[in-house]
Subunit: 227 residues, 2 copies
Amino acid sequence: MMMCSSQGVDTCNRRYTVRTCTGSEDYSAVIGLVDAWWGGRRMSPMLPRLFFDNFCDTTFMAVIRDEAQPAEAQQAEAADTKQRDEVVVGFLCGFVSQSRAGEAHAHFIGIDPAHRGAGLGALLYDQFFKAVQTRGCTLVHAVTSPANTASVAFHKAIGFEAVPAIAPDAEGDERKGGTGKARSSSGASEHRSLGEQSGRVPVDRELVHIDYDGPDDGDRVVLEKRL
Amino acid sequence: MMMCSSQGVDTCNRRYTVRTCTGSEDYSAVIGLVDAWWGGRRMSPMLPRLFFDNFCDTTFMAVIRDEAQPAEAQQAEAADTKQRDEVVVGFLCGFVSQSRAGEAHAHFIGIDPAHRGAGLGALLYDQFFKAVQTRGCTLVHAVTSPANTASVAFHKAIGFEAVPAIAPDAEGDERKGGTGKARSSSGASEHRSLGEQSGRVPVDRELVHIDYDGPDDGDRVVLEKRL
């Protein structure tokens, strides 16, 4: 399995490494963790294995060495040892759009709550931007829940802008603004909860794309960043 | 929006047309229907808009003309009229793997229960096979729930083979076979429910990939077909 784009940073006296996803092995390592990382919410249906299997070269893992391992093992460079000594503390799963030329999509970013606030989200995105830029992308999309104001604030902090929802009159879409539907969805469909930023600014109504991902808790904030 | 690979067949005195997905417009048309097509199960979290937006050139829609429209409107060829007169009765959403050379993945196939048994599933897959073959693919994967025996039977009928799960001893994976976990998951994570075949043959235990899509109802049958 190709391993590339690795980068180490020393933050808070811990050494984080961001590396390309290996596919199924990394999926197995994180899929049992994400619900807990989101405070018990059921996130796994939004992250089927297909994303790690088919888009592993634009999916990145943030790992630390397992501190319970002896120092010699931590320094071992053999691939099999490397896998055993690592603990995954975050990941960003994304892909190059197949039908939208020059565009990429960041689908899912998750950070272990115990490792939030250390800049891991920005580090993961930095690797993702480089990877998709190499593949010809100049625009990146991300989608989050309007209830997840921390995620919206984080994305804005790293250069994303929220895409306004089209006004009801412009499209004649009766669902938009006319149903009295609450603008803040429950967390059930929340894509990411970074907690990287503490800014809890309510999301403007005109930025909420009603029923974007379906009629059941599918309201979304759509973010984009030019590379 | 490019429209290609259209094909019409006359089945049961109805005219079905399979055409390439338009993206967001088609997503909005179907996302509110899929839960009902699955008998009320909540399927929409498995089909976020990103699939229709980013993989529309390998996603196909089965449509009929709206019979409530006057005959003249049915025959109109103008693109705007075409959209209004159509009723979506099925779709297959898939993509070319980005990181697995020569492979494609069929993610989600749904057929309106009122139009099952007419060969629409096979027709949709036929278009998908042609589309991904043109893009260099020689292998197609599909994943379904072991509880969905109709889907397993359908896929086998059109040439897929089930990929055996790796034996527990071979990988030392304690989750496999050692937990006493029930082999039939609930329908909550079921990817597709075609009802195209009536064969209700139980899925062999060795074909069930335990926790494939996560520990919560993530048991899956993995199918593949060589093109």
